[in-house]
């Protein structure tokens, strides 16, 4: 009885909400059908490159040099920005020689900051990071995606934390640190940052300031080229710096070598749940177990009515692109879900985990899926 009353009351309350939603849907259908949205979007963009009623865009308000090859771009998003949690990332879309390209970048700003910010290291041969460094200026507009990712600190904040970063992996952890500082939640936090050399330390000055200001924060910077304690960070060095690390909830983000060297600590200690990781370089995909990947499989693309033959070794995204298809993609790391695609039939294997899918209909991420059998995709 109570349940019925509650749901009726909820239904009554939701009528105006639904009407408003229906009204909004009608307006947007009419605008699209009359091609008004093209006109409106065009003129908004002509006035200000970050204005849009439809897309999430941001204006660059400041470009800061952090190190010799790292810049922070401070962004003022438009009204479609929903806000983010510390540790999340956004997709950034830029146009390089006429071609739109998307990459994921962790936000380095805290949720309470007036603007949000991404901090980007220039990657050799990296077309998007190079473009951002060379071409993005104050006042420019930038297309960004919804913030996403679960590399976040839960609430309530755990008592003892270890934030562990290497190189440009510091960005999501800086966001978390800034957020904790702003919320006065730095009770017992150790921040360990590994860098190649002193000139490569990102946010070095701010880390020092925060440590000086907050007694609950201890910062350690490990340099690879240090004369005394040199070399890459490993389990022994980490235990020397943080003897109680097994008692801490740990967030780890860094280059693949560092992640691979350090992750076994938590696994062998039997506490994998105390470790959270964020990858920003695609992990080397383990080769498919011999005998599992068929030499030739057929992909049927239902929407374009195309059939292509591929071999089962590469990811579906790579194979589709090689065949001239242009599916949407984002991070290519199995994170952002931009390349999500409906599989109607067939079996795929998750290239990261080796998990094998069922035969039936489901959504898959093309960038981390390998074909095990012939597939039908809603592409």
């Amino acid at each position: 009885m109570i349940a019925i009353q509650t749901s009726a009351a909820r239904a009554a309350a939701s009528v105006p909400v639904r009407l408003r939603a229906a009204g909004r849907a009608t307006v947007s259908t009419v605008a699209r059908r009359f091609a008004l949205d093209r006109q409106i979007e065009f003129w908004l963009r002509e006035i200000d490159s970050s204005w849009s009623l439809r897309d999430l865009r941001a204006r660059v308000v400041e470009v800061k040099d952090e190190t010799h090859d790292v810049k922070t771009f401070v962004l003022a998003p438009n009204r479609r920005w929903p806000g983010h949690r510390a540790g999340q990332f956004v997709t950034v879309e830029v146009e390089v020689d006429g071609v739109r390209m998307t990459r994921c970048y962790s936000l380095s700003s805290a949720p309470g900051d007036r603007y949000c910010a991404i901090t980007v290291k220039r990657v050799a041969e990296g077309r998007v990071s190079s473009w951002l460094h060379d071409h993005l200026r104050r006042g420019d507009g930038l297309a960004i995606g919804q913030p996403a990712g679960d590399f976040v600190v839960p609430s309530p904040t755990p008592d003892k934390l270890l934030l562990l970063s290497g190189g440009s992996g510091v960005t999501p952890l800086m966001s978390i640190l800034r957020d904790l500082a702003a919320r006065k939640a730095l009770q017992d936090v150790v921040f360990v940052h590994a860098a190649r050399s002193a000139r490569d330390v990102i946010f070095g000055a701010e880390l020092e300031q925060q440590a000086a200001r907050h007694p609950g924060l201890r910062v350690a910077v490990v340099l690879e080229d240090d004369a005394v304690l040199g070399g890459r960070i490993d389990a022994a060095k980490l235990f020397a710096l943080v003897p109680d690390l097994e008692h801490r909830q740990t967030w780890l983000c860094g280059p693949p070598g560092m992640m691979n060297a350090l992750s076994p600590i938590w696994i062998s200690a039997g506490i994998p749940e105390r470790l959270r990781v964020e990858r920003f370089v695609p992990p080397a995909l383990p080769a498919p177990a011999t005998g599992t990947s068929p030499a030739q499989v057929a992909l049927t693309l239902l929407r374009s009515r195309r059939r292509i033959e591929i071999d089962g070794t590469g990811t579906l995204l790579d194979q589709l692109e090689r065949a001239g298809e242009r599916p949407a993609y984002g991070c290519r790391l199995g994170i952002c879900n931009t390349c999500r695609c409906r599989k109607r039939a067939g079996i795929v294997e998750n290239a990261l985990t080796g998990a094998v899918s069922s035969e039936g209909e489901e959504d898959i991420r093309l960038c981390v899926s390998r074909a095990r059998t012939d597939l039908e995709l809603a592409l």
Partner: protein, 380 residues
């Protein structure tokens, strides 16, 4: 003018195809910023002329602002349909990954639904170009533009039906994929027709509502003026696109094909057919843009997926290849090509005076079948 294309051997045909393939690959590898900059510049002009035209129609008084408004809106609609819509829907900018330039997302300002167009034009017309009985763009199922089409008495009135088609061209294009002819002949069930007609009916309803209800209503007391302006701009766009498109495949010297000639057609032979089945129009840069670069119909049919603004720079190279292989390259002024089409519409309203080439024994043979068949040549 008589087409003077030499008959190529099988080897020559394939070599010809390889040269064109190489040319296409070279341009495809060079696509970049300047191509998207070009199409965005055209989009900008189309948006600006549309806004300008509407302001003049909505707020203007008197005939001068009316004429200027109609002119601006006509230019906008022509650019949107020809250089933007037609070319974007071909997938010429899909490589740019810009959702606004995506062939499967784009919906143009025409009563023809984009989904119908992609089927009847991109697939049927570009695949079966100039194959009598397969390419339903030959005369649009309404006109007899070549002696290969069998004559019947209905064609006697085709100068009038051609004029009507020109005035209502967007509607002709829109119902093209419904195959009304087949329903009239009893070859297509009504429920199939209804299913085919669905995208068209929905699109046309929105377009009519936009042009003759929504925009006039916004203008309040000026509503009749706005509706009339929209009507005239649509009509101007219809006439222009009809003229350009009919010059592409129906002037003298363009060759029609029989289905038996194209069985097991090789890649090279396909290029030969596209070349001999298309005709260019000469003109300046603005004329080419306003025609959506369909003034380079030959290059468009050889490389339908290369951005059209590249055709002018491709043309001399295509022409040089054609010369080396003794293939005629059909081009002429707008007046010449349009005059030729008009003459043929009158001429083929009447039955063939000479013996129909189609009645002769078809030439079949492993090499002749792939090569242009001189007996089937369009007579001038």
């Amino acid at each position: 003018m008589k087409s003077t294309s030499r008959i190529l051997t099988k080897e020559e045909t394939e070599a010809f195809g390889r040269e064109l393939d190489a040319l296409g690959r070279e341009v495809a590898a060079d696509l970049g910023q300047r191509d998207v900059d070009h199409i965005r510049a055209v989009i900008r002009v189309a948006r600006q002329t549309e806004a300008g035209g509407r302001v003049l129609l909505h707020f203007g008084l008197g005939p001068v602002s009316f004429a200027a408004g109609v002119a601006a809106l006509s230019i906008s609609k022509i650019l949107e349909n020809m250089e933007i819509g037609h070319n974007v829907m071909h997938g010429q900018y899909d490589w740019a990954r810009d959702p606004e330039l995506d062939s499967h997302e784009y919906e143009w300002d025409s009563v023809c639904a984009a989904v119908d167009w992609r089927h009847s034009h991109n697939y049927e017309h570009h695949t079966f170009t100039n194959i009598v009985g397969r390419d339903r763009d030959i005369g649009y199922g309404l006109l007899r533009v070549t002696p290969e089409q069998p004559w019947h008495a209905g064609y006697l009135f085709q100068p009038i039906s051609a004029a009507l088609l020109a005035l209502l061209f967007q509607w002709g294009v829109a119902v093209h994929d419904l195959r009304l002819n087949e329903s009239l002949r009893g070859n297509q069930a009504l429920d199939v027709l209804w299913k085919r007609a669905n995208p068209f009916l929905r699109k046309a309803a929105w377009q009519v509502a936009k042009d003759y209800a929504f925009y006039p209503a916004l203008a309040l007391f000026n509503a009749p003026r706005v509706a009339a302006g929209n009507f005239l701009a649509n009509g101007a766009r219809n006439l222009w696109s009809f003229a350009i498109i009919f010059c592409g495949h129906f002037p003298d010297g363009v060759r029609m094909y029989h289905e038996h000639e194209t069985r097991d057609e090789s890649r090279g032979a396909r290029y030969v057919r596209q070349l001999n089945g298309s005709a260019n129009i000469e003109g300046g840069r603005k004329f080419h843009v306003m025609s959506g670069h369909l003034s380079h119909q030959i290059e468009h049919h050889l490389f339908p997926e290369i951005p059209a603004s590249r055709y002018p720079e491709l043309a001399p190279r295509v022409r040089a290849i054609c010369e080396r292989y003794g293939q005629s390259y059909n081009t002429g002024s707008f007046r010449k090509q349009l005059g030729s089409v008009a003459r043929r519409i009158f001429k083929y309203a009447l039955p063939n005076l000479e013996r129909r080439p189609a009645e002769r024994a078809p030439v079949v043979g492993p090499t002749r079948r792939l090569a242009p068949d001189p007996t089937a040549r369009v007579a001038a």
